[in-house]
């Protein structure tokens, strides 16, 4: 991967929580327009790494570069999708989706217009006036995704976005995410502990070792994206990649 292609680069990241070392010497390049997954056993620091890239956590050592500029905090070119959705429970779907734009001081008419477009795009049309507690988990995460899309960030940071929704909803959501990304052309950094999810969604998979988290391997699934979702799930490359990663991660268990 040529350096000019890198939209996000992390160099020598180390993170200490008191005495505990969560990440050690993590250096990675995230290519522009691709979906990269951070995959590893629980407690390997993958969410920590994502939050450092988001600028929510300061690293103990090392740097993060976005478009060649060093990151010191959150920025408008990065948007976050939260594991627990992080929706305002007192606000409607419309206001939640428009919240990022509201914080930027956009006039109400403009931000609602933009929000409606993305509510449509994630398949929630008709639910603009609903409150989060009236929605299912999957629908709530669609609101979280629409909010992240509405601010026109180039980079989507997704922290186990589907872990709180049931299996069927999850599959449907994964398919919708891929078709959405083929239109929106975003760079996605995606955290998950599901091997199938990682292989199904990713262009590049980063395997992290158990704590302290280090980069243990880079895997390119090499799955042709022009196939349908059901075909992909039966594809030989897909099944081999899942198997291969499982064997690589197995040694970190127990």
């Amino acid at each position: 991967m040529a350096d000019s292609d890198a939209i996000v680069e992390v160099r020598g990241i180390r993170k200490l929580y008191g005495e505990v070392e969560a990440l050690r010497d993590v250096s990675l390049v995230f290519p522009r327009g691709k979906l990269t997954t951070l995959l590893g056993p629980s407690g390997c620091g993958k969410t920590t790494l994502l939050k450092i890239i988001a600028g929510l956590l300061p690293p103990s050592a090392g740097e993060v570069y976005v478009n060649g500029r060093k990151v010191t905090g959150p920025g408008p070119e990065r948007a976050f999708v939260f594991q627990d959705f992080a929706l305002l429970p007192w606000a409607t779907v419309l206001r939640n989706v428009a919240f990022g734009l509201e914080l930027r001081g956009l006039p109400e008419r403009e931000r609602h217009e933009a929000a409606r477009r993305y509510i449509d795009e994630v398949g929630l049309a008709g639910f603009e006036a609903a409150y989060p507690h009236q929605l299912s988990g999957g629908m709530r995460q669609r609101v979280g995704l629409a909010r992240a899309l509405a601010v026109h960030a180039d980079i989507l940071l997704m922290d186990e976005p589907f872990s709180a929704v049931d299996e069927q909803t999850r599959r449907k959501f994964q398919e919708d995410l891929l078709s959405l990304l083929s239109i929106e052309r975003k760079t996605v950094i995606f955290v998950t502990h599901s091997i199938e999810e990682a292989v199904y969604l990713s262009d590049q998979i980063v395997l992290l070792s158990r704590r302290p988290g280090t980069v243990s391997r880079l895997v390119s699934a090499g799955i042709a994206r022009d196939k349908g979702p059901d075909e992909i799930r039966r594809d030989k490359n897909y099944l081999d990649a899942v198997d291969d990663i499982w064997h690589a991660l197995k040694r970190y268990l127990v």
Binding site: A54, P76, F82, D84, A86, P89, W90, L103, R104, H133
Partner: protein, 250 residues
């Protein structure tokens, strides 16, 4: 509740107590307990009297002023203690001491410092209400879902936006609970303040009736004050239930 058993309305228990009260009153065991029907008749007379209206006005004035100050001080104090660790360490102990302390014991000292009159009553209401409001606000602010704060930071919220758009709304259920308890304490405060100062408002009437053994008027006034406190706390409780509903997913 099984469907074949009829639901007993809450007013039924009130009716039983009133009947019991009436019977005890009619038996004439004690002049302190007149029959409830006499109390109600005396009530009509008391509540339409010029004296009562004047007392009510001055009492409500002291109550409203004291509560307004308690909210204006208690909410920011609670937010400060909820957000700033050092503030909670310095102030938390005092707020906790005062919230459980018998504030009535301080009223005589207040009288000596501030004088005998309306300001003392206002300060008493303030002291009765402010600490529980501050404490509950602190609990609410501390209970904010951390990922909501991360979300706000991610989308570029400035500090004042975090407060105005996330923290206050998130803490609203606890703040309202504090306000409800504050209002209940404030009613106690206004009556105790006036009783100890004893020359103004409803407190003066209480003093007047009990000293002259006008028990019917005395009980009528007691019922009025009870109803006022209860009605006010019910209004806030209703608001709380609405907010609870909107905040149910956090």
């Amino acid at each position: 509740m099984t469907p074949d058993r009829p639901k007993i309305p809450a007013t039924f228990s009130l009716l039983i107590w009133f009947l019991l009260w009436e019977a005890v009153g009619r038996a004439g065991w004690s002049s302190i307990v007149p029959p409830v029907s006499h109390v109600l008749i005396a009530g009509v007379e008391v509540f339409s009297s010029q004296k009562f209206l004047a007392a009510t006005r001055i009492t409500l004035e002291a109550f409203a002023l004291g509560m307004a100050c308690a909210i204006a001080v208690g909410v920011p104090l609670g937010v400060l203690m909820g957000r700033v660790e050092s503030a909670s360490r310095i102030l938390g102990l005092w707020v906790n001491v005062f919230v459980s302390a018998p504030i009535s014991a301080l009223v005589p000292i207040l009288m000596a410092v501030i004088g005998i009159g309306q300001p003392t009553v206002v300060v008493t209401v303030f002291l009765f209400a402010v600490f529980v409001i501050a404490l509950d606000t602190q609990v609410g602010v501390r209970g904010v879902n951390p990922s909501l704060l991360e979300m706000a930071a991610c989308f570029g919220a400035r500090p004042h936006q975090v407060y105005a758009k996330v923290l206050i709304w998130s803490a609203l259920p606890e703040m309202l609970a504090g306000l409800r308890l504050g209002v209940i304490r404030g009613v106690k405060g206004v009556v105790i303040g006036q009783l100890l100062v004893s020359i103004i408002g409803v407190g003066e009437l209480f003093e007047l009736y009990s000293r002259n053994f006008l028990m019917e008027e005395f009980w009528a006034l007691v019922i009025a004050v009870f109803l006022f406190a209860f009605a006010l706390s019910e209004v806030i409780a209703r608001l709380e239930r609405r907010v609870e509903y909107y905040a149910s997913t956090r």
